[in-house]
């Protein structure tokens, strides 16, 4: 195993973010904790993989998520899962989770394009100049007549939005306050991270 752990993590784990978030959202009672649960799942997976890479990354990811939920539930003494909820159901849900919904290169490009389109205008301009025209941050700042710190700020914001779109496959879901696309999964809640 000469591949770096970071590269392995990006390739084998992050691609399952959309089904992971769906799983967490369906299973956990507090929507505002999903981001935190997702990160905690990643953390546990990464630390375990540092010792030994799991044979099936996806199965390991979901098992880790399930263990985390059980731990949290015990700690918080949560009993407010959906009626009829039990540990077995968590297993079933894992099986239901569709594989990488946006694994295809085209699909990924579309998700990227859609996320790019949804960036605020100035932020979008900065990303375009930096990532497509490959101008330096300094050049971007000069051309737009803004400070370099502001360019940095736009880039930081864009990174977070694009990551959500690419890994979480949020491209098809309606962001708050923007034009609606046809309703798909009515119960699916998008996590806002900015």
């Amino acid at each position: 195993m000469d591949e770096s752990l970071d590269a392995w993590f990006a390739r084998e784990i992050l691609v399952h973010e959309a089904p992971l978030v769906r799983y967490l959202t369906r299973t956990w009672h507090a929507r505002d904790e999903i981001h935190d649960l997702r990160q905690e799942t990643y953390l546990r997976v990464y630390e375990a993989a540092a010792k030994a890479r799991p044979r099936s990354a996806k199965a390991f990811l979901f098992t880790t998520a399930r263990h985390l939920l059980v731990d949290r539930m015990r700690r918080q003494r949560v009993v407010s899962f959906e009626p009829g909820w039990d540990l077995e159901e968590l297993n079933v849900l894992i099986d239901e989770m569709s594989p990488e919904r946006c694994a295809g290169a085209d699909e990924e490009l579309r998700a990227l394009a859609a996320a790019f389109d949804r960036l605020p205008p100035r932020c979008r301009q900065v990303v375009w100049m930096r990532r497509v025209e490959e101008q330096s941050q300094k050049e971007v700042a000069a051309r737009l007549g803004i400070g370099e710190a502001m360019v940095e700020k736009h880039i930081a914001k864009a990174m977070r939005r694009l990551a959500d779109a690419l890994f979480g496959c949020h491209s098809s879901e309606k962001p708050k306050g923007e034009t609606a696309s046809p309703v798909r999964e009515g119960h699916h809640v998008r996590q806002h991270t900015n």
Binding site: A10, L14, H35, D36, R38, Q39, Y46, V132, M159, R160
Partner: protein
């Protein structure tokens, strides 16, 4: 605000700084320390870094693989919304 969201913000700031010209060896050392301080830092960083790397593919859009930008650098129009 949850820690994970705060950490993601810090990771984004690091990456945006590293993307600029003012990046020095001392910054790299400081970043390494931040990454080593917590696996939560590291996974947030890896995630955003991978996304920013993939954003390079916006160039494919610019050259017309899917569509063309509607103006100089204003934006990219896609047909994805109409399809969904």
């Amino acid at each position: 605000m949850y820690d994970s969201i705060q950490i993601e913000g810090t990771a984004a700031n690091w990456l945006a700084r590293r993307d600029g010209e003012g990046w020095r060896a001392a910054d790299q050392v400081e970043l390494a320390q931040w990454l080593d301080a917590s696996t939560a830092h590291r996974v947030a960083y890896i995630r955003l870094e991978a996304a920013w790397r993939k954003a390079h593919r916006l160039k494919a859009l610019a050259t017309g693989v899917l569509s063309r930008p509607s103006n100089d650098h204003g934006g990219v129009q896609t047909d994805s919304d109409q399809r969904r």
